[in-house]
């Protein structure tokens, strides 16, 4: 599937929720475990700007298409954060600038040095690094889309489901970008394939692992993906990954869940 960057940028818009009856939450709130998951998702979306930072120091970005995509992607994800923050606010959970700042500061030196590691790593590896970045992005966006889909189905709240579907639809377009890029860069490039395989099988962790505690990650994975319905989504992601050039047999997302003891 080809990805039309001009169409993507032209149609890129912030996710809207003004037309949705989310006020209903005031009388009929989400249960605490769902709020906990929603909070996690919100933090991950707001953190996109830091992921962007880590990418800007790599060779991935000297390409018009990638630059254009990253600008729009960064904005769309920010608005996912705003949308989820609004839902949280209806439950008395406030996510404001000061709080986000405190969280980012708390991440400390390990977070600050991430771009340095990325930069050094990408310089050592060279151009093939872009393939790794792209496949990594694809897996994360697949996971995000699956997470929103599951959350919508689990809650059965009609307005929330519409909102999460809108968010998931944008994530699906991000998937299309990353997967198209990854496929093109992996095809016929055994070195990039080996590198991507190595990175995914050794270093990939569920989205949000770098910013949330282990306990939170396990809660969210359990909440969204435990049981046969959840595992079906996870297996679908692994199947998508395995279809990319050189990735046959990888089951990184399922493995990550197994490692956390999430029941299938």
């Amino acid at each position: 599937m080809a990805f039309d960057i001009d169409r993507f940028t032209r149609d890129s818009t912030r996710v809207g929720w003004d037309d949705l009856d989310l006020e209903a939450f005031r009388g009929d709130p989400l249960p605490p475990e769902s709020l906990r998951t929603l909070r996690y998702m919100c933090d991950v979306e707001y953190h996109t700007v830091c992921y962007l930072r880590d990418m800007l120091v790599t060779p991935s970005r000297r390409d018009h298409e990638v630059d254009a995509f990253m600008t729009m992607w960064n904005r769309e994800e920010f608005w996912h954060g705003e949308a989820l923050a609004y839902v949280l606010s209806l439950h008395g959970v406030s996510v404001d600038y000061d709080e986000l700042k405190a969280k980012r500061v708390k991440l400390g030196w390990r977070d600050k040095m991430k771009p340095v590691t990325q930069s050094v790593l990408s310089t050592v590896v060279g151009k093939d690094y872009i393939a790794v970045h792209m496949i990594w992005g694809a897996v994360n966006e697949w996971s995000a889309a699956a997470a929103y889909k599951r959350m919508g189905a689990l809650e059965g709240h009609p307005s929330l489901e519409v909102l999460l579907k809108r968010i998931a639809a944008q994530e699906a377009r991000h998937v299309a970008f990353y997967a198209t890029q990854a496929r093109a860069r992996l095809e016929g490039n055994p070195k990039a394939q080996r590198l991507a395989r190595l990175a995914l099988s050794n270093a990939w962790q569920p989205v949000g692992s770098g910013i949330a505690t282990d306990e939170e990650v396990t809660h969210v994975m359990n909440h969204l993906f435990s049981g046969p319905e959840g595992r079906k989504e996870i297996d679908a992601i692994d199947a998508h990954v395995a279809r990319l050039p050189g990735m046959e047999g990888l089951t990184i997302v399922g493995d990550a869940l197994d490692a956390r003891g999430i029941a299938a």
């Binding site: 120091v57 018009h64 500061v105 930069s119």
Partner: protein, 265 residues
């Protein structure tokens, strides 16, 4: 003294109402056939503006990335800048003049490579050691760069009637960027001695946009066309005067100094 520039900037309202200046918002074909000097100015603006992600990178590598108020602004800023860049590009295309490769001389190319590959690493380490004070310097630089380019658009609209519409549409966009940088600079400089020291050093070393990469010789014709006439001199002085009103920057005249550099080199 109350100053309209000092009104608090509402980031939440800003991110909700971006100004999208898309190529389709302008009768681009009506700009065909611009004379060479004007076209060079448009190309200069395009080159400066499209460094969106370079600027984002430089800001995000520093402790600024934890400032969620600033990153929320930058998020929308990048979006606005993206469409502005596309519109400038469309004007260049309508004139059959588009060179996707940045116009850099050899030193410029080396500098750009350095800025892209090496400097980020050094800056990430150094600025994180310096800490939050760096934000004050960065928003002050952001204000100055934007102020000079903002005046450039105004002048472009005055010089070339066919670009007056473009200039008019850029006006509110840049005005909001300036308002954000100003409020941030003012309060952060006010609050921190270290911030004032870093900002002073950065502003004292400030260079005209794009000079670092293209060199003064390449940028000089643009500067002469946009900023050299007598009437513009007072508007340039006003920018320096604004800088001098910021806490700790009283005796600096970065614009005058940078223009002097064009005259003597």
């Amino acid at each position: 003294m109350s100053d309209p520039q000092d009104r608090a900037f509402d980031v939440a309202a800003y991110v909700r109402s971006p100004i999208e200046l898309r190529p389709t918002d302008l009768d681009v074909s009506a700009t065909a056939g611009l004379r060479a000097g004007v076209l060079a100015v448009v190309e200069h603006l395009w080159t400066v503006e499209r460094a969106i992600l370079d600027l984002l990178r430089d800001l995000l590598l520093t402790p600024t990335h934890t400032e969620s108020r600033v990153t929320a602004f930058l998020n929308t800023w990048a979006y606005e800048q993206y469409w502005l860049t596309q519109t400038l590009r469309a004007v260049l295309e309508a004139n059959g003049d588009i060179d996707p490769d940045r116009p850099a001389n050899r030193i410029g190319a080396v500098r750009r490579a350095w800025d892209e590959r090496v400097r980020p690493t050094i800056s990430a380490v150094r600025s994180n050691l310096v800490g939050e004070d760096i934000v004050a310097a960065q928003v002050t630089l952001g204000w100055l760069d934007t102020a000079v380019i903002h005046l450039g658009y105004q002048r472009l609209g005055e010089l070339e009637p066919r670009l007056a519409e473009l200039a008019a549409k850029v006006e509110p966009l840049k005005a909001r960027h300036l308002a954000f940088y100003w409020t941030e600079a003012r309060s952060r400089l006010d609050a921190s001695v270290g911030g004032r020291r870093l900002a002073r050093r950065a502003i004292a070393r400030w260079r005209w946009p794009e000079v670092r990469y293209a060199g003064r010789t390449a940028v000089r014709p643009v500067v002469e066309m946009l900023y050299a006439d007598r009437a513009t001199a007072s508007r340039l002085r006003a920018i320096d005067a604004d800088v001098a009103r910021l806490p700790g920057l009283a005796d600096l005249t970065p614009v005058r100094r940078a223009l002097g550099g064009f005259a003597t080199s």
